[in-house]
Amino acid sequence: MSRDKRIREPMSDTHLLMTITICIFFCMYFLAMAVWGGGFLRWQQVFDMLNNNAALIIVACSLTIVMIGGGIDISVGGVIALVAMSCVVHLNQGGSIFTAALLSLGIGLAFGLVQGYLVAYLEIQPFIITLAGMFFARGMTTIVSLEPQKVAHEGFKTLMNTKVEIPWLGYTAKNGNLIPARMEIGVVVALLIVVLVYFMLRKTRMGRNFYALGGNSQSALMLGINIRRTRMITHLLSSILAGIAGFVFLMHTGAGNATNAAGAEMNAIASSIIGGTLLSGGVGNVIGTFFGVMTLTTIKSIVTVSGLRDPWWQSITTGAMLCFFILLQSVVLSRRSRGKNRKNQREAVK
């Protein structure tokens, strides 16, 4: 009997929005396969999308965490740039990969601690603090090095070129050779992070506290949750993930540049939103966010193959897609709450 009840339980807002996104992603991808074929029919297309967006997937996870907690973090793009630049300089000065990794974590940690403290304990609006964080990171990047730097460290170059090969997802080229699907190390890191964050948000006490904080911070306080510490942790995690993303970014590009990851924060926010995270907090899921990134990337690929080659079309279609998603979410959620009211009324009449 209890099983019957489980099946009938309506989906929570988080799952509903995520499901919609995943469905739309698959519809879009299958459409692309049917219409343009070619690259879309190969698994390598998916892996390329992942290879190019590993860092974005990680910072989108950061944003999802912070947004679930009812905050926002727009410093992540700046942190990526700062970490990438610092690591390049460090590696070129003879540092090891290990210390570079530590450096990226350290930078993330430092940003997380300061921003988290200011937001959580001094109760300053997260937008302003992380905006200052972004300015600081971008400014520091140019102070570390104004000129673009290329990695010269041999070990790191090997790491960059190491690819995970998956033969059974490969394809046969015209000359008959089997070309395996290739995935960068950074993608492995990104996927691992998605899984870990999913687990944390779903299964751990801390993760559920994030949802409580974002759902209603006053209630969370009354329920005995240390909301300041929880809010601080969301920012801490977000910045540490941004630090990791910076390292992954460097593994993909192999160069530090002051304009690295420009606009990454907004792309990450857009991905989270498409994946069903609400800026108002308390609703969201990293699996959705992952598909949010993939949806955005697929749209860009489609624009490229469909012959709209003028430079403006990519971002115009991205904007249109974003608009479509937020309108869809708004309509779905408002219909839902209206339905709920009606149901409660019926119950009251009974």
């Binding site: 001094l122 200052a132 600081f136 400014g139 907004m266 430079p311 079309w313 974003l322 937020i326």
Partner: protein, 351 residues
């Protein structure tokens, strides 16, 4: 009465202190920092120059945007992050109209301005509709235009970055012959007066604040909440058009990628430094305007200190953090407790 006065204007304390600190810092560093000189510029006009003028001049776009942003923040409890992109669109329309109309005259400039105003207001209404009708948070709703606005601007001019060559445009972005004050400053004053008149002759102030503080109650008092939110976004659209035209005229060209880049962040910052809650509700537009000039004063000071232009952001970030930490309610409370204890201690000693 005095206490009343203090409580009414206490909001302006933080931005004023910020400006004061920057001023004092500069005077100590270089007593001649704020001196104003009368010079002849290369077109033979008698003009004012000096750091003070360049601060006032340089903050013009920001000040206009901050005014509009204050209203949107107050009514909607969120910020518009598409103002830079929208100003780029407005600037493009301005250039497009002037380019297509042959010779540039005063009339054609006016028409072009009206056209770009109309376009910007329509885009503002688009943002406003998402926010007011579909109840999407402003930051998310305007993310759409933020993402694609500059590309739309690029598209309007067909992938080019056209230039305008006319003494009239130079005058609009620089000095009108015979007037020693830079034209953008005059435009800010005009905009400010328009806002002051609007507040004086309409109930915009109390309406936006009511909607921002308690939307349900505002509706039950007969206020059209959707309309007010839409209106604030349309006003912000007009502000974007004004600042877009200013920025285009300064350089006599439109570059969709660099025009007013990241000004949305500065505009939001100006609102926050002005002591306005980013969560909406009560506002003081004068605070935002002072905030805008404080930001520009800071930038100019850093330039004067030979900080490289690319690194300015880092220093700016530190000052911003300092200002918001001082303004933070927690710090204020702690400070209040401290002074209370100090006073009590002093009283105890006397007793």
């Amino acid at each position: 009465m005095k206490r009343n006065f203090l409580s009414r204007y206490s909001q302006l304390l933080v931005p004023l202190v910020a400006v004061l600190l920057i001023v004092v810092f500069n005077l100590i560093r270089d007593p001649g920092f704020f001196s104003i000189e009368v010079t002849q510029n290369n077109t033979g006009n008698t003009v004012l120059s000096g750091n003070l003028i360049s601060i006032l001049n340089g903050a013009s776009e920001l000040a206009v945007l901050a005014m509009g942003m204050t209203l949107v923040t107050a009514a909607c409890g969120g910020q518009d992050i598409s103002v830079g992109a929208l100003a780029a669109i407005a600037g493009s329309v301005f250039v497009k109209v002037l380019k297509s109309g042959g010779e540039i005259t005063g009339l054609s400039i006016l028409l072009a301005f009206l056209a770009c105003c109309a376009v910007a207001v329509i885009f503002g209404a688009f943002n406003g509709t998402l926010v007011a009708v579909f109840r999407i948070q402003p930051m998310i709703a305007t993310l759409v235009l933020y993402t694609c606005g500059r590309s739309v601007a690029y598209w309007i001019n067909g992938g080019a970055t056209p230039t305008l060559t006319s003494p009239l445009i130079t005058a609009l972005g620089g000095f009108i012959p015979g007037i020693p004050v830079p034209t953008p400053i005059l435009l800010v004053i005009v905009t400010g007066i328009l806002f002051a008149l609007t507040f004086r002759f309409t109930s915009l102030g109390i309406y936006t604040q009511s909607v921002g503080v308690n939307q349900r109650a505002a509706r039950l008092n007969g206020i059209n909440t959707v309309g007010i939110k839409l209106l604030t976004f349309m006003i912000l659209g007009a502000c974007c058009a004004i600042s877009g035209v200013m920025a285009v005229s300064r350089l006599s060209l439109i570059n969709h990628e660099t025009i007013l880049l990241e000004i949305e962040m500065d505009a939001i910052l100006a609102v926050a430094i002005g002591g306005n809650a980013l969560g909406g509700g009560k506002f003081r537009m004068s605070g935002s305007i002072i905030g805008a000039y404080a930001i520009q004063a800071l930038t100019t000071t850093l330039y004067a200190m030979k900080v490289p232009s690319t690194a300015i952001k880092a220093y700016k970030a530190l000052v911003i953090i300092l200002i918001v930490v001082i303004g933070s309610p927690v710090v204020k409370q702690a400070f209040g407790r401290l002074t209370a204890r100090w006073r009590a201690g002093k009283g105890g000693v006397q007793a």
